[in-house]
Amino acid sequence: MKRRSFLKNGALASLSLPFVQNGFSMQAIAKQLFEVPKSAEDKVLILIRMNGGNDGLNMVFPRDQYAELVVQRSNILVPENQILPLTTDVGLHPKMTGMQTLFNEGKLSVIQNVGYPEPNRSHFRSMDIWTTGALDINQTSGWLGRYFDSAYPNFPDAYPNVDYTDPFAISMGSEVSSTCQGLMGNFSHAVSDPFNSSNLLLTSVTNDGTYYGGQIEYISTLINQTNEYGQQISSAASAGNSLSGMYDPLNPLAVQLKYIAQMISGGLKTKVYILNVNGFDTHDAQVDQNDVKEGVHANLLKRISDAVRAFQHDLQLLGLEQRVAGLTFSEFGRQIASNGSMGTDHGDAAPLLLFGACVSNGVVGGNPQIPNQVNNQAGLSMQIDFRDIYASILKDWFEVDAQVIQGLFEQNITYYDLLQGCTNSIAQKPTVQQPQALVYPNPSLGQHHLKFFSVNEFVEVFLIDQSGKILQKSFEGQLNHGQQILSFEINVLKAGSYFYLLKSGSRQELVSFQKL
């Protein structure tokens, strides 16, 4: 008997979930669906997380409703004449001169009133919603993680490889980003200092001369050596350049953005960088009592504005402007009315800032409506669904097929024109002849939808398990010409891989999904 006799034919938990199941080659289908266009492979997206709930009304001002703002938040309101005008109706906090410059150069978009239906004012839950890109409580993957899973199948087992030597995403700091959580692994790699190839999450590992210290040192060394991306990152950072003198070395965000400029210019193929700025939970002393345009929030805004301005300047000097775009986000905005502690409490929708040379528009969406009476606890209503912003970025920036994007999100997507300002660099995509059928959300838990196009014909939909056995006929009926969306309850299914077989006179098509 062999050593591994316990495991013979054992039903083991594989560390990777197989996408290929009994005879159906899902990889072939995936390949065809999810080919990443060459022009999109060079694109870089920067995400800046404003952690704690950013007071959007103290960042982007509806200038046309200053009188109403006075009613709501006179104790913290920046004087009207100090607001930096962007348009007649929209202005920025006085500390955001950098962002104003970018706006005037056509490199900044203000996206107004972004949020989601039925807002949740818990930091933790709301941040999970923003990072998963889903309202479904059971969604465990991040919005970028789902995109990466679709574009780069078999992660993490198949990576890094000859074609993809670099991490797909880098999270600056010690924690990987939930936005990049895929089905089987997190696509982001935590980096505190790209010039130090150490992968250690925390840095204070020293050998104190005891047996313990020796073992810790041994394990640390091994962790370092096996950090497959460490060398790539530090070589890129060393080979890269930074040409702008505008970075403030005392501004941590500026330091990190400078690192990113160095990594990009050094040839690192990483597609997403995530940065984090803490401190936006400004319940009290949001502003300086003696000068309301100063204070905690003003400093945070200045830090972001200055850093992004320096970064954008650097990209311009490095000739990288057309490859990089960035987005700020926060888990929620704050309430319209200020509180008695010179601060603001948890609210709802807030503006996002989208920066880069390729932004399409200056202001996206209209100003929020500020009531002329204080309504306790009122936040700003959402006008733009944040998931639509994510979807639009995937479409404009990473040139993801609209069919694929729909599969990543639970809502019926509305696209916004966000990043089409450099259209000459965007290759024309071949038009899709016959759109593929698609299950979304996928993987799914409770209810999901099957979207496909039909001609005027009789269609049957069968549910098939991974062994190819037909479990049930999920639908049959005469359908008109056009897009169809069928909704199915799948609560009763055990976790695993399944397929829908669409059968009609004109086609026979198989579409896979995972039940969680």
Binding site: G10, A13, D128, L201, L202
Partner: protein, 524 residues
């Protein structure tokens, strides 16, 4: 041995439990603090019982699913016979993993594992024989070791594993005799001359082989015998007098039939080397791999003396060790690199994460658990050789052999798996119950206290304050501490509402994920 008389705090209690169990919870540690050192050590000698492995796999063709196969015949048909053996081995592997995961607060599993590694048995060809053998080890694991070695010598599984069943007067087989001396009792010392290993010679190997002749095994995968048995066949036994080497004072072992093996083992245990050899192995298993001259003279010698004085009862030796000043010395804390099974169990047992599904799913989950440890380099009852795992004996690296560039990645993969979605077996999800872990801490609503408690549970020594702060920032998501308090209290007020428990669960998973990837987690 100098007894420990220093302070008895959670640091000492956690050290004891980390070394003596496969994973103690925060509550276990606090209880151990409460009952004092002697109380805590005494508790560890409580031996419970385990149920028998049950048939769960469709390959089993004799007993109904849900019943035990340990005393059941095999099918006559060859294919069916093989399928049944496959099913029983899977059941046994899953059962072993289950016992580790569901251990009581006792030394039993840890010592069972020690003996399993000590004898290095991996095979018998009959799952029932393997079960019987493991039951024998369990019975003696905290008991009389001389009796254990005697019983193991004529155990069917061992007879099959080291060819005792074909060792006859007509063709002596030295396999068991050699390993008994080299690996199980006196150990192999420096080579003094050709065939002379300080503690025994080739003459002793040949003599031992003759002494052990005559035992045969019956009933392997039998369709009529419900148990595998060993039997002494006088006609196959070498009745000559066996003369031992000068290391054994040239003693003669006279022919004594079925009892001769036991007489010989008495002689072997009279050798001081046997007690010293076993105590060194225990020391490396429980304390530290580096046996310095000081340790040899002050610790090993004392352990061996106690072992001999108590007629090879192991409990007094362990009791003395676990209450000694040396065991709690700061210099040996955190000196051991956790084995893969210890690593996996530390992730699971500390939160009492167990699989309690229907029979089939439970066994399949535990077989997967067995597989995860195997992928990290340690399949229970499947060491790479009869000498056991190299990490327990191979100088100078010892425990470091558990981790190399491949295995550290596997450890991280397993950490990623168990601190995220886990894995599913027939729709049953298995992942670390982070909320149970959290709720069992001293002050779950206080972010700094949560981190303090987790460090106590998972790390052998305090970590720098900056690292604690970094972990706390992951727990709070970078927010002020009071936001964690609010979130936790909201969850506590409505614990079954995913809107409240999900965010708490995610934060805890992120914290454990990062802690499991810190070097400090991999030592104990």
């Amino acid at each position: 041995m100098t007894p420990y008389t220093g302070p008895w705090t959670s640091a000492e209690a956690a050290h004891l439990l980390r070394r003596c169990t496969f994973g103690a919870s925060y509550l276990d540690i606090q209880n151990a603090v409460g009952v004092g050192m002697l109380g805590a050590v005494n508790q560890l000698f409580f031996t419970g019982s385990v149920d028998q492995p049950l048939a769960y796999d469709a390959g089993e063709q004799i007993v109904p699913l849900g019943q035990t196969w340990v005393s059941a015949v095999y099918p006559t048909n060859t294919t069916a016979n093989q399928q049944t053996e496959g099913a029983r081995m899977k059941s046994l592997g899953a059962w072993l993993a289950k016992n580790l995961n569901q251990e009581s607060l006792s030394l039993t599993e840890k010592m069972l594992f020690f003996w399993q590694n000590h004898f290095g048995v991996t095979t018998s060809g009959d799952a029932r024989a393997m079960y019987q053998y493991l039951s024998l080890l369990r019975q003696h694991s905290l008991g009389n070791i001389k009796q254990m070695v005697k019983d193991v010598t004529i155990d069917p599984c061992m007879l099959l594993f080291l060819n005792g069943n074909t060792n006859t007067v007509f063709s002596p087989n030295e396999n068991y005799g050699r390993e008994l001396l080299e690996l199980y009792t006196v150990g192999k010392g420096a080579q003094l001359a050709a065939g002379d290993y300080s503690t025994f010679t080739e003459q002793d190997v040949a003599a031992a082989a003759k002494i052990f002749t005559g035992y045969v095994v019956q009933g392997v995968r039998s369709d009529t015998q419900a148990q595998v048995t060993s039997q002494f066949m006088p006609v196959l036994h070498d009745t000559s007098s066996k003369i031992l080497s000068y290391h054994f004072a040239n003693q003669t072992i006279s022919s004594a039939g079925a009892l001769e093996y036991a007489n010989y083992i008495d002689v072997v245990f009279n050798q001081t080397d046997t007690a010293l050899y076993i105590c060194r192995k225990l020391y490396r298993y429980f304390v530290n791999c580096d046996i310095t001259v000081w340790v040899e003279q002050n610790i090993i010698a004392d352990m061996a003396q106690t072992f001999v004085a108590n007629n090879f009862e192991i409990a007094p030796v362990l009791m003395e060790l676990f209450t000694s000043a040396h065991f709690y010395d700061i210099s040996v804390r955190g000196a051991i690199i956790r084995s893969p099974l210890e690593t996996l169990c530390a992730m699971l047992n500390t939160s009492n994460t167990t699989a309690n599904f229907d029979l089939q799913s439970t066994y399949q989950t535990y077989l997967s658990m067995y597989g995860l440890a195997d992928q990290m380099g340690q399949g229970y009852a499947a060491p790479p050789s009869v000498a056991g795992w190299t990490a327990y004996y191979q100088a100078p690296a010892f425990y470091r052999l558990w981790i190399n560039s491949t295995y550290i990645k596997k450890r991280f993969d397993v950490a990623n798996l168990l601190t995220s979605n886990g894995f599913n077996v027939n729709g049953n999800n298995f992942k670390i119950k982070v909320l149970d872990l959290l709720n069992g801490l001293s002050a779950p609503a206080s972010a700094p206290q949560v981190v303090n408690d987790l460090c106590l549970v998972f790390f052998p020594k305090d970590i720098p304050a900056a690292d604690q702060l970094a972990i706390k920032n992951i727990l709070t998501g970078g927010l002020p501490d009071f936001e964690w308090t609010l979130q936790y209290n909201e969850y506590l007020a409505d614990p079954t509402n995913p809107v409240f428990y999900n965010p708490v669960e995610l934060r805890m998973q992120a914290v454990l994920n990062i802690m499991f990837k810190m070097p400090q987690f991999h030592v104990c």
